[in-house]
């Protein structure tokens, strides 16, 4: 049975410590990714680690440089918007501007 977790209006977790791998799989399925492959996990785990240590969710370019997954592949793994979708699956806030 799933525990209830708090989310914002767009379904992003409010507290990243409530995240679990099962929850990640569930969010992925709801967003059209049937199975999270090891390549997906590589990105998701990199993002979480980076957010927890720096307070910043990595951008597409930072992901392409540092996660070990090239930008083109990021778009194949997380269609439409990798930075946003991987953040949602990883339980961290979406990338934002000032307003």
């Amino acid at each position: 049975m799933m525990l209830t977790v708090a989310v914002d209006q767009e379904g992003f977790l409010l507290d990243h410590t409530e995240w679990t791998r099962e929850l990640a799989e569930e969010i992925a399925r709801e967003n059209g990714i049937e199975t999270l492959t090891p390549r997906h996990w590589q990105v998701v785990e990199f993002m979480r680690d980076r957010f927890i240590t720096t307070g910043n969710a990595p951008t597409i370019r930072a992901l392409g440089k540092e996660s070990g997954v090239p930008v083109k592949e990021l778009y194949q793994l997380f269609p439409k918007g990798p930075a946003k979708l991987a953040a949602k699956i990883g339980g961290i806030p979406k990338p934002r501007g000032c307003i």
């Binding site: 209830t4 597409i60 930075a83 990338p95 501007g97």
Partner: protein, 420 residues
């Protein structure tokens, strides 16, 4: 023994910090050095106005060396690297400056070369950036020649300096093309890697009407991978294309190149890893950073740098006296956002609180938050005077302190969402 404080960068953060430290320490207590490559201090908020002929480059550039209080040593030089083990700065050409405290205030660097084709044919003809003085002035001439067509503003990727500037640019472009009578045969497109023009819930709720009113087309979650400056096509990594007649790009940003050449100082984008509340660098206790040079989740904006500067001199003194640092910086930012037709918005926020509506207390009286007004536009224009005459000299501004005020803000609007 007199302490040596070395500040890398003579822009907003370096100048404020140098001037505040000079007031804090006597000449016997500390020498203060500032190093920069040139003697041109650009009032960067003014760059937005140059392409529209509302400001000239001459009006927004002054000598860096003239902004420092007496007793500050300004050196023109190009930093090769920082030797963090021996506490020395190495300059190209052989100069070496030892330091007791180092402040990295070297800002962000534009990296147009990181996007394929950006600097190819068409650069400076139909592809421009307004993020430096040459680009802004070239774009002014291109906009004068512009006779209708597709004007595309593209943000390569975050982080960028002044994340609202591209939005202000499209609003001013709408005004400019209407004034010239060619708006109906022009299209204005904003292409952004984010999922919208307004990405925070309250701002989105209150400001989305602006896009309709000004007929701005949006291309969201768009990461430009390639520019064809001859054919006029911008292509994203996932194969989407945006055609343009005139492309205004906000190129990728990174930290100063010497940060990358200084082992352990910065991250993969050459931004300095910095404590979000004390401004101490992660790499070593005697290194501090502020402004656009940091990796903080605050906005890269002059106001943020200014608020950081009002706290940093205290922490540097505490560090030199062996006292515990103050964990006071809250990510406060305060920005006027031009919306065209002599109106502007005001936003005031920090790490934890998104911009909300309400009123912001200022010396000019309360200014409306997250709502267009002429008073805000006047505030934006007046600010250049305040920048040179009060902010850079390191004076505390009345009513605008480093920590975000809550008075006047409608904080009850912050919605929590739900649960799953």
């Amino acid at each position: 023994m007199r302490k040596q404080i070395v500040i890398l960068g003579g822009g907003t953060g370096g100048t404020i910090t140098a001037n505040r430290l000079r007031k804090r320490f006597t000449a016997d207590e500390a020498d203060i050095h500032v190093i920069d490559r040139d003697d041109r201090h650009v009032y960067q908020p003014g760059l937005l106005f140059v392409p529209f002929g509302l400001a000239s480059v001459d009006e927004i550039v002054r000598p860096r060396s003239r902004q420092f209080h007496s007793g500050i040593r300004f050196h023109k030089g190009d930093v090769e690297s920082v030797d963090l083990e021996s506490d020395r700065v190495r300059l190209f050409g052989g100069g070496i400056l030892p330091y007791d405290v180092l402040v990295v205030a070297s800002g962000a660097r534009l990296l147009p070369e990181e996007t394929e084709g950006m600097l190819g044919p068409g650069w400076g003809e139909r592809v421009f950036t307004f993020y430096d003085t040459d680009g802004a002035d070239g774009l002014r001439q291109a906009l004068e020649r512009f006779d209708g067509g597709r004007l595309v503003v593209d943000i390569a990727d975050m982080p960028i300096k002044c994340p609202v500037a591209p939005i202000e640019f499209v609003f001013l472009a709408d005004w400019f093309l209407r004034e010239r009578g060619i708006r109906e045969r022009s299209e204005i497109v904003l292409a952004t890697p984010l999922d919208g023009c307004f990405t925070k819930p309250i701002a989105s709720k209150h400001l989305t009407y602006l896009l309709d009113e000004k007929q701005i087309e949006l291309e969201t979650e768009f990461s430009a991978g390639e520019v064809d400056g001859v054919g006029g096509v911008l292509t994203s990594y996932d194969g989407r294309t945006v055609d343009f007649d005139l492309l205004v790009t906000v190129p990728l940003h990174g930290g100063a190149a010497f940060v990358g050449r200084s082992e352990g100082l910065g991250d993969a984008l050459d931004f300095v890893q910095t404590d979000p509340h004390t401004l101490q660098a992660a790499v070593k206790p005697n290194v501090f950073a502020l402004g656009d040079a940091t990796d903080l989740p605050s906005s890269k904006a002059g106001s943020v740098t200014h608020f950081e500067g009002e706290l940093l001199d205290r922490n540097i003194e505490r560090f030199l006296r062996g006292q515990e640092l103050e964990h006071r910086f809250d990510g406060h930012a305060n920005c006027f956002v031009e919306t065209g037709f002599k109106k502007a918005l005001l936003i005031d926020f920090n790490y934890d609180t998104e911009p909300v509506t309400g009123r912001f207390p200022t010396a000019l009286g309360p200014m409306p938050l997250l709502r267009e007004s002429r008073l805000n536009h006047l505030g934006k224009l007046l600010f250049q005077w305040i920048y040179w005459h009060a902010l850079l000299p390191g004076r505390d501004l009345p009513l605008v302190g480093p920590e975000m005020p809550t008075a006047g803000k409608h904080l009850e609007q912050v919605a929590l969402g739900g649960s799953r």
